[in-house]
Symmetry: C2
Subunit: 247 residues, 2 copies
Amino acid sequence: MTQIFKIDHTNCEDCPIRHRAVCANCDVHELELLEGIKYYRSFEAGQTIIWSGDQMNFVGSVVSGIASLTQTMEDGRTQMVGLLLPSDFVGRPGRDSAPYDVVATTDIVMCCFRKKPFEELMGATPHIAHRLLQMTLDELDAAREWMLVLGRKTAREKIASLLSIIARRDASIGQNGSSSPIVFDLPLTREAMADYLGLTLETVSRQISALKKDEIILLEGKRRVSVPDMGRLMEEAGDDSDGGYLV
Amino acid sequence: MTQIFKIDHTNCEDCPIRHRAVCANCDVHELELLEGIKYYRSFEAGQTIIWSGDQMNFVGSVVSGIASLTQTMEDGRTQMVGLLLPSDFVGRPGRDSAPYDVVATTDIVMCCFRKKPFEELMGATPHIAHRLLQMTLDELDAAREWMLVLGRKTAREKIASLLSIIARRDASIGQNGSSSPIVFDLPLTREAMADYLGLTLETVSRQISALKKDEIILLEGKRRVSVPDMGRLMEEAGDDSDGGYLV
DNA sequence: CGCGAGTTTGACCTGCCTCAACTAAAGTGG
DNA sequence: CCACTTTAGTTGAGGCAGGTCAAACTCGCG
């Protein structure tokens, strides 16, 4: 329950997510307005940020760390329905209660706004509303892509899909071409991965071992993954958009 | 490929989806603007309305009929990622190419707008942008609820979930209390149901037979379903939000 | 050192898939 | 009007991917 306030007061201009979050399109004036109503909150890994069904009285952006959206059935089966990375938005303007739990997967810092003032501000500044629509449409696409993963992919493909996704944005791709190996740390436990992929943690573990044996990935400890050939990993994922650089 | 134009020109005021579609919040003036750029298109059951990857040069609302959003892997595995019912919106302002196929499941009529003029109009009329955000947030919630179905539910629960969803809005619930039986027609073939649920059509067929044998549902022919006790069906779905009326 | 959280691995089991045969209803055309 | 095909759905038999249960291993930490 302890909340740690690591960030005292950061100027929006210097904010690491300035150009990707809801505020991305804001001009200097709009930024001032936001700056007036924002406040930071920190959560420790494992803490629940919002409980499903609870009243939500704030919205906000993930500044650093990772959170997950989780749905749970009465008998305890759980399904992660989204992964929130820095710059992702939490909460629903115009909606009172949360439809799922939001849990801090790692230590996390959020830039929050009380819902009411934010909604008012949104009415006044179309830039924010517009950006939020864009972000929501992106999330919808991501959710639908994940439906294909959950509904039709094999366990091995599921693991490969998750690794590709994490690799794609966690390791800053782009500067290096195709061949140089990509290295990153898994931000999720095996259990969390299982919850995301609709598998059991045993199956996750087995498939990771299998991918390692087949040298699709290399492991350093339990969490550090390196991918010698991104193309092969994406083939395993069944995505096979031909990587772009294979053509 | 034949397109049938059934609707010559319908006044927006008389439109059956007037109060649920993107235009729901529009005032008379805004409605006039929309009326100026709208046009109707009809598609026969089975026609593909938009191909994945294609340039989208229009957006629009489903007026009548049902369409489905479908993703396909190279080896042919397919997953339906959304069901579009009357008043649902198709297309992405600010996005060029479609991320998935949109297929007419039944004969369907759409109210379309060329994308460019619509986007301009959206910039000028916040009501539309706001409504679109609300609808997109709703779709996102629906997609995430479906992720739980795909990732964690058994075949029987999946079928029950699908039937509940169709029952909930297809048969106009609300006027009748809990006990009077709900009757509706399945708008989907067994195969389409399988694609939606991440199952095979054989499993769908078997589970429907099983639900019938257990008298959770009754069948009249292959498509007409009646649900004697909605509460029991929802229990089978594992949703068990206790139906609301059980409390 | 001993504990516990996270992970791996093994052995067995089962729910769903696969393949295949069959039925029902609805055209189609001679 | 009846054989023939087509399309949608049902049902059965058998196999396998992934779940379940259980044991052991690793590693950081008090």
